[in-house]
Every structure is written in structure tokens, then in C-alpha cells.
Assembly symmetry: C2
Homo-oligomer: 185 residues x 2
Amino acid sequence: MPKINRTKYAILGLLLLGPMSGYDMKKRFTGSISHFWNENYSGIYPMLRRLQKVGLVKKNEERTAGKPVRHVYTITEEGRKQLYEWLLLPAERPTLRIELLLKLFFGHIVPEENLIEKVEAEKRFCDQTLETFKGIEEHLSSTGSHKELPGAKFWLITLSYGKHYYDAVRSWCEETVDILRGGKK
Amino acid sequence: MPKINRTKYAILGLLLLGPMSGYDMKKRFTGSISHFWNENYSGIYPMLRRLQKVGLVKKNEERTAGKPVRHVYTITEEGRKQLYEWLLLPAERPTLRIELLLKLFFGHIVPEENLIEKVEAEKRFCDQTLETFKGIEEHLSSTGSHKELPGAKFWLITLSYGKHYYDAVRSWCEETVDILRGGKK
DNA sequence: GCGCCCATGTAACTAGTTACATGATTCA
DNA sequence: TGAATCATGTAACTAGTTACATGGGCGC
């Protein structure tokens, strides 16, 4: 089986939220969905052109005085259909490459203090991310901006995944620091 | 900053466990460390040659009657030094691309039963993996094969990460199935 | 005047996956 | 006799990252 191009579907999917430009998409990928997906400009722009060429999206140019031209894309019926087909397929699992664990696995040759630093950095990252999630949730419930999304439920589900995940990693970090400190020879 | 080649260090690191062939390495990558790292033959063999050429590993050919020649590699002092330098550096975080979440995020256009299936498949995967971990742990404690590794402690730490992770995802799956079933319109 | 935001994109590179290619031995 | 394991590797492709390139507007 050849590898499926997920950038294509990530882009088509974003267009379900409404017409937008490549720049808008990048903002989404850096924002609240960054904890489970990301794309760079160098993936987005060429893909948008390709999708336009084969008729899965339509382009409109928006001109506002004193601002750069915006290339705003809309999903077509055919685009929607192909996205739908892909959504039905089983989700492929990512092959993990967790550098932190690789470094810990070979950790017996470096000073333990160095390992502890790494684990604590990871913990700080978890804390930060969990804070961000809290902020997003509050923002969502207070402003009622869930109307922006056609499926706020699904959006909460992905957020919940993040919470479970970072909570788990966070407590692993705590345990691990204890082991590393306590188990000192 | 240019991207660092982690395959290089994954291979050098494995050689800390003792001399081995590319084939042996692949077995490790498919075995008990597969939950945090993987490499394919197509990454391993060319890298071993490259590492040999620059003197980070040494090759010995082992001939056994009736068996293919084994190319057994050993890490050199210089290899160990370079690995050490890399181990000290902060671990880079992977950019996540979780297809399941992407599909759920756009899930409002497909039948919910299809989404539930995907989440349940994920749960089954977690259960399976957790079972495997249990097996590994038992095997380790019963046979005392932890002597095989220079740092059994670190090995348990990586295993524990996996347990935390899959436990968390597993309970997220349960919650999510409930939401999807209960929240039916 | 500086830096950030808006907004578009390309070029060059690095990494990663899959398919291809070969062939002996061992075990059921 | 057929599948699995041992054992090596290459070729072709796909995906992903970083650096490069440009330029106006806005706020401090």
C-alpha cells in the first residue's frame, strides 16, 4: 500500500470550517490543533495549488486596500467527497520516535543530573501545555465561540486527548525524577 | 539549526549493549523498544557503512558453516565520544501527527458509528500493547535477563512511559466512546 | 527606527517508507 | 512443500524541515 498524503486531507478538512487562505491555515496549525497536527507553509501552499488544479478546491482573490492580496480557498463537492472517503478509512497509527526515551535508554553513560534536567524540562512542557488547554477551554465556554466550529463536540474530544496525554506524561516525569534521584548509587 | 541525524545515534547507542549486526538491530527496533523508536533496514545498513567509513564503528565478519556471513559491528572510542556529546544535548520534542484525532476533528461529516469503530480499534491496540508490556516485565523479573542491559533501571523507565501513555489513551478511548454514544442526537 | 503581523511563495535538503532483490536453512 | 527465520542490501519514492526571498502596514 502506498503512503497516503495526509497533508491533502488536513487541508481539505480545514476548509470544512469555511473558506480560508494558506496563511489562515497555518494559524490553525500553530494554534489550538497544534497538539495533534501541524503543517508548514512549504506544505500548504504547493498543496493548495495542486488541489485547485485537480478541482478539489476553488480559489478566490480578495483585495483589501493597503493589504496583500488574499488567496481564499473553498472546498468543492468533489473535494468534500474525497475527504469523506478518506475519513471513513481506519486511522493509521504513527510510528513513535521519542528522543527523550532514546536518550534515557542509553542514559547509563551520562551523569544522572543531566537526565534529570531533561525529564524536568519535559515536565515543564507538560505543565505549560496543560495551562494552554485550560485557557482554550475557558475561552471556548465563556465566549461561546464553539459556534465557529461545526462540531464543538469533536473539538472537545481532541482537547481531552491532549489532557489525558500530557497528564500521563507529567506524572511519569515526576515518578522518573524520583527514581533517578532516589536510586542514586 | 540543521536537523540532527538521530538514526546515527540510535545505532551507536544500541552498540553500547554489545557488538551486533544490522539484523540484530532491526530485531531490537521491532522488539521491546519499538514503542519509542524504530528504524528500518534501509536506514540501518547504509548508516552502518557510513559510520564505519568515518571510524565510529568497526566491522568484523563472522562466518558460521551453513549460515550467511554476519557483519558484526562494534562501537569505537570516537563513536562513544560522539554519542556521549549527543546524549548531553536537550531532547527534541517530536511534532505530533495523530491521524485518529485529525479524523475525529472533522468527524461531524461522517456517521458516528464509523468514529466509534476507530476509537474502539485504538482501545484494542492499547490493551494489546499493555499486555505485551506485562509480558516483557514478567520475563525480565523472572529470568533475571536485566543483566543483559547495562542499565536495567533506564529500561524500566522507558517501559513505564509506555504504560502511562497507553493507560491514558485507553481511558480517553472509553470516555470518548461514551461521549459519542451518549451524545447521540 | 525596530520589530511584529500580514501574506505569499520557492529551493535545497534530510529523513523516512515501501518495494524490490537474493538465497540458504530449519521446522512443521 | 511451504512458511518462517537468518541475513544482506538497493532503488524509488514520499514526506517533512529549514532557509531563503519579498514587501507593505501598524504600533511603540
